[in-house]
Structure formats: C-alpha cells, structure tokens
C-alpha cells in the first residue's frame, strides 16, 4: 500500500514538473543550422537575444542532417501533433505558404513589421514572396543569391575571358575555349540531384525574363512557352562542357574543381563563395563572379525566414524573437558569420566582403525572383518532380520529351499550361 501511494506521488510530481517547465519563461527555436558558420550565427543571435531578455531560457531545437530534410520532417510531425516550436526556420515563400499558411497554422505578422516601422526597410518583392493574400507570414533573416557564376581567374585570363560574358553565346564560347585547353568548362555536381535544377532555373529565368518567370507562379505565364524550351536547348549545349563524372560529385566537389584549377567555372548559389573562402581563396583575387548570363537584371532569392505558428507555447517570447531578427542589429551580426547578405536594405555594408557588397547592391536594385529548388517559388511536390525531370534530362538530353514532362508536372500542380 505504501509503495502504491509513493508511486502515485512520484507520477504526480513528474506531471506537475513538466507543466511547470512548459509554463517556464522559455523560447524554443527550431532550425537546421547545425554546421559551420550557420551554427555560429545562430548562437550569436541567441546571445543578442539574451542581451535584451536575460531571463528567457533559449531552447535550441536544431535538427541536423539532410540540408533540412530531417528538420522538415520533424517539424511536420510536431505541427501535425499540435506541438509547434515558438518559431522555426523555413525558406521564404511556398515552402511555408503551401505547407503551413494555407492550412491555417500560422499567424500573420505584418503588424510586427508595421509596429517596428520596418515594412519599408525590406525590398517589397521579398516581403511579397513571404506573403499570402496580402499578409506577411515570415520575416527574412538572410539572403543568398542563386544565379551566380563563380570562376577561376587564372584559367579565365588564360583563355582570354577579360569581361564577364553577357549572353549565352559568349559564355558557351568561353566554355568551349576552356574545353579546348583541356579544362572542364562548367563544373557540375548533381549526385544529390538538386544542383541540375539549380542550374536550369537560372536558364529559365534568362530565357523568360524576370517578369514572365514570376508570372509562372502567379498563373499569369503559361509553362507551355518557347522560353522554357529554349532554356532546355541552352542547357543541352552547356552540358557538352560539363565534367563527365558530375553524377558522382556533390556541389562542393564541383566547386573544388574550380578551386583546383581543373574547371573554369560553376553555377551555384553564393554559399559557394563562403566555401571558396574556407578553402583559402579571396574574393576578387583568385576567383571572380558574375550573374548567370541573361539574368543580370534579376536576383534569384534563397532566403531563410522565421514565422509565428499558431499556438506557440511562449508567444510573447516568439514575438520578441521575430522583432529581434527583423532588426538591423541582428541581421548585421548573423549574416557576416553565415556568409549571406541581410534582407534589410539599411545594413552596414562595411561588415561584408567585396562579393557580398556586390550582392547587396543587386539585391537592392534588381528584380527579385523566387527559386524553385530552394523552396520559394513552388510547393515541394512540384520542385521535386521538376528536379527529377531535369535530372533525367541531363542524361537523356531529349528536349521534346522533357518539355512535355515539364508541362505535365505544371498541370498536375495547378499551374497554367495553355
């Protein structure tokens, strides 16, 4: 009898304590920032938060692995189970809108930006990407640019590439010259499949132009148009100058080819810039960059954002967090560490290196377009289906077949195909 009472007591205490913890003054931040500069940047944000709110206990619910695939899966389970974190990292755009906003699981937070007077401190285009039916649902913290070519300056001068090529013909011309000299023209590492779509979406952007490209996602532009077909043809031509073992390489391996002087250039988001710096190169010294030819007037956005889930356990602290990361101070602490640029236009440029300055300039002035493969333009099912189609294309090089496939995928996902 005594034993029984004791165990009842024990269970009671345990239950009470978990309730107590739940009501604790805490903030749970969910992300997949677990490596290198990302983790450092996150910790710096936490430190900044503590400066203002020292009594709040920060719970770092980061999930490692799979470039976010694991984290996304865990997040889905939690959201479904009614156990959301206070705020979570999510790519700007459809990754959030389609998954959580449309089913009504997120609170609109336009008012937070209004309260801070920060609505006009972000490019309208990026807030548009983060919006649904006129309300902003997440706040962008950092911005990467996807449509960049990074190249080896030594090889470039060897083949006579003094100026960045403006058109495809020029670019292919230099790729061929590099090939003739025994170099790989364009380094590609599509073992994980997404990089070939990363390349293709910039080609789509080049052939459609930013307005038409944006229209694809608003059901204003039809997928059944020659621009997309031309993009496939250009890609087919470029594939001739791609390293033959691309299927065995990751994007880092491809960047390494440029670093080791085996390849002229690679098309990659500017996290490749951070990678080249860790390898020891300096921007503008050993490597140069330019926008993917044909997309000089556009900035393909890859951005991490944070939102406010309904039923956040510590809503007050979550709002504080969102206000913090929307501030210049936080963005200028986080981004130099991570190697990206702030989403705010009034950042302190002196904190950023020469490449990032170039990027910030373009961010402020060029057309912003959402990336498909990085979760902004379209729901995941569309992105992965397109990724598979392009991946096949890299092998089959069958323009007509892939074009038809793209139209079918667009149709399946409710886009315009007339």
């Amino acid at each position: 009898m005594r034993k029984f009472l004791f165990s009842v007591l024990l269970v009671g205490v345990l239950i009470l304590s978990t309730v107590a913890i739940a009501k604790e003054n805490a903030l749970e931040i969910f992300s997949w920032w677990t490596g290198g500069g990302e983790e450092e940047g996150l910790q710096a944000l936490f430190k900044l938060f503590h400066k203002y709110y020292p009594d709040v206990k920060i719970i770092n619910a980061a999930v490692a692995g799979g470039a976010g695939t694991n984290a996304k899966a865990v997040l889905k389970t939690r959201m479904l189970g009614g156990n959301p974190p206070d705020s979570f990292q999510v790519h700007a755009g459809m990754e959030l809108i389609d998954t959580y906003v449309i089913p009504g699981m997120m609170e609109p937070i336009t008012w937070i930006l209004k309260d801070m007077g920060a609505l006009d401190k972000f490019p309208k285009a990026i807030l548009d990407i983060c919006s649904y039916k006129g309300e902003v649902y997440s706040i962008p913290v950092n911005v990467h640019r996807a449509n960049v070519v990074f190249y080896n300056k030594r090889i470039a001068s060897e083949i006579g590439m003094e100026e960045p090529p403006q058109t495809w013909h020029q670019f292919v011309y230099y790729l061929r010259k590099a090939h003739e000299k025994g170099y790989v023209g364009l380094a590609l590492g599509d073992k994980n499949k997404w990089t070939s779509l990363h390349l293709f979406e910039s080609l789509m952007l080049a052939e459609l132009g930013p307005e038409a490209y944006n229209g694809l996602w608003k059901n204003k532009t039809s997928f059944n148009n020659t621009g997309i077909k031309r993009a496939l043809e250009i890609m087919k031509e470029m594939l001739q100058y791609v390293n033959s073992d691309h299927a065995a390489m990751t994007w880092q391996d491809a960047v390494r080819l440029v670093f080791e002087g085996k390849a002229l250039a690679t098309v990659m988001g500017d996290w490749a810039e951070g990678y080249l710096k860790t390898l020891g190169w300096k921007p503008g010294v050993e490597f140069g960059w330019f926008a993917v030819p044909g997309t000089q007037d556009a900035f393909m956005v890859v951005s991490d954002t944070f939102g406010l889930p309904k039923g956040a356990p510590h809503r007050e602290n979550a709002i504080r967090w969102l206000k913090l990361i929307a501030s210049v101070e936080a963005q200028d602490i986080f981004n130099p560490i991570k190697g990206s640029i702030p989403a705010r236009l009034d950042a302190d440029k002196s904190k950023y290196d020469v490449y990032l300055k170039w990027s910030m300039n373009d961010f402020a002035t060029k057309y912003l377009t959402p990336s498909i493969i990085h979760g902004s333009a379209a729901p995941e099912s569309f992105a992965t289906a397109l990724m598979d189609a392009i991946n096949s294309f890299v092998s089959t090089r069958n323009v007509d077949k892939t074009f038809k496939e793209i139209i079918m995928i667009a149709e399946d996902n409710g886009y315009l195909t007339k």
Binding site: P103, K193, D245, A248, P379
Partner: protein, 308 residues
C-alpha cells in the same frame, strides 16, 4: 487444473508482445495500406484530414511511372547478382579458410570485418573509390589505379554511366561490388560453420570411393550445405529487396535513375514531396516483395519443427 493455470500464465506473459506487435506491426501495416488507397498526396490534404478512398489508383500510377519500373528492374538485377556474388564468394572464402593453412584464422577475421561496418559508411567510401574522375584526362579512384597499371582500356564511368544491357543498368555493378564486399563475410562465416559440421569421415569415405577434391566438394559437401545456402538466400534476399542506405550514400538515384531503388523513391516521395499516399503504395509493394521471399522460408521451417 494446473495445466489450465499454466496456459493462462503463458498467455499473460506473451500478451504484451502480442499487443505490441499487433499495434506496431500489423496495425501500422494496415494503416499504410489505408493511406496508400487515399488521396493524401500533399501536406495540406493531410492537414485537412479529408480522406478520399481512391482504390488502387496510386498503385496503377506507380506501374505507369518510368522511374518506378526502372526501380523494379534495378532491384531485380541488384538482388540477383548480389545473391550470386555473396554466396559464391562466401563459399570460396569458406573453403579457403577451411583448408586450415597458416593464417587462416587471421583471414577469417579480415573477411568478416566488413560486416561490422554500417552500410552508410560502406556506401560513402566505395562511392569515393568508384568516383570515375574526368575521363580521359583526370581519372580518380579505381580509374586512376587502372591508368597507373596501364589498364586504360578498363576505365569507364562506373556508377555515373548510363550504359545498360537490356534493362540491366551497368551502373549497378559498383553498387553490387560494394554490397558483396560487405556481406560475403557473413556467408563465409555461415558456410564455414557448415563445412566444419560435416564429419571428416564422410569426406574420407568419398576420397576412398574415388572422389577428387573437386568432386568431394561439389557432390558431397555442397549438397550438405543446402540448408545454409537456402538460409543465406532468404536473409540476403530480403536485405537486398529493401536496400536503401548503401545505395543512397553511394550513388543516390544516379543519372537517369540507373541506380534508383524503390526504397529511395519511397523516401523522396514521402519525406520530400509530401506525397504520402504514393509513398505508402511503394511501401506496400516492397512488403509484398519481401513476403514472397520470407513466407516460403517460414512455412518450410515450421514444417521442419513439426517433423521434429
């Protein structure tokens, strides 16, 4: 009276396991079948919770899907050559170790060691080994070795190659090599135990009867190893039908899905594309494939029990 009590106690002891299996195995299988016959192919459909029964539509779509058909062929050829390779190599190694020459104990451990390595590690390292490099100027890995040995003719794309013989994708060859490397130690250990359990006088009787070493092996020992061969086929067979981490770590889906497997497709559909119903359908198909292999095994080993 006593017997009845013992029966009741027996049932009570087994009851927690029975309940756990009923829920977590059969319950979940049933649920997966249910999902596979639904329209839950996006996260919002899942959230809205509206379940529409669509019958076998997901299954039919799968069999119209080029990628899935490729997956099935890949599984078939991978399983076939993996089983052949592991059993043949395991048998050869067992016979060699059994000769009892100097150092055979050391070799036995060396051959068995790969089994201790996780498939992910195996896949990653063999992925590096077989990474072809840029042909012809800058070969890497095995290709580099060939070049240095003057065997340039042997250089090819390995798992980046989209070459095929009929529906057999040659890119599977390096994957098969890695898998056989990993598991032939296991078959070797099983065969070694089997060989050692064959009484020596049977071998001697065969020698006196006039059998050469080869004949002793092929006509006496190998037939007596049949139960082990059967066991190995079943165990390796169901591993290879479900193979995921080795292929995922080593090659991913491969160019044009030459090394894609149903498990990888299922993983991507469910956890990347949010197409839960489609992914569940693949899971059920995989379950059926494995059942085809395992059920005869269970039936025959239950018959053995009854006979005893």
């Amino acid at each position: 009276m006593r017997a009845k009590k013992e029966i009741i106690i027996g049932i009570l002891i087994a009851l927690p396991s029975i309940i756990a299996i009923a829920i977590f195995v059969y319950g979940f299988i049933f649920w997966t079948v249910r999902v596979s016959m639904s329209n839950w192919n996006s996260f919002s459909a899942l959230i809205r919770g509206q379940y529409h029964f669509v019958g076998l539509r997901n299954y039919i779509r799968l069999f119209q899907d080029d990628r899935f058909i490729t997956d099935l062929w890949n599984t078939l050829f991978f399983t076939l050559f993996f089983l052949l390779g592991s059993i043949a190599l395991g048998l050869i190694l067992a016979v060699l170790v059994d000769t009892g020459l100097k150092g055979s104990q050391l070799f036995q451990n060396i051959y068995l060691f790969p089994m201790a390595v996780a498939f992910v590690v195996t896949g990653t390292v063999w992925g590096w080994i077989f990474a072809p490099g840029i042909i012809p100027n800058d070969p890497q890995g095995v290709n580099l070795l060939f070049k240095q040995l003057g065997l340039e003719k042997l250089i090819w794309g390995w798992y980046t190659s989209t070459d095929h013989i009929g529906t057999f994708n040659l890119a599977l060859i390096p994957v098969i090599i890695a898998a056989v490397w990993q598991m032939s130690g296991y078959t070797m250990a099983m065969y070694l135990a089997g060989l050692r359990s064959i009484p020596q006088d049977i071998e001697e009787a065969a020698r006196v009867d006039g059998a050469s070493s080869w004949q002793v092996f092929w006509r006496i020992k190998f037939p007596l190893l049949k139960p082990i061969t059967f066991s190995a086929l079943i165990i390796l067979g169901h591993i290879s039908l479900k193979i995921f981490d080795l292929v995922f770590a080593m090659t991913g889906s491969g160019p044009n899905f030459v090394t894609d497997m149903p498990s990888i497709y299922m993983f991507e559909l469910t956890f990347r594309s949010n197409r839960y119903a489609r992914g569940s359908a693949i899971a059920i198909i995989m379950l059926l494939m494995v059942a085809v292999v395992i059920i005869p095994y269970l039936v025959s080993s239950m018959k053995e029990e009854v006979r005893r």
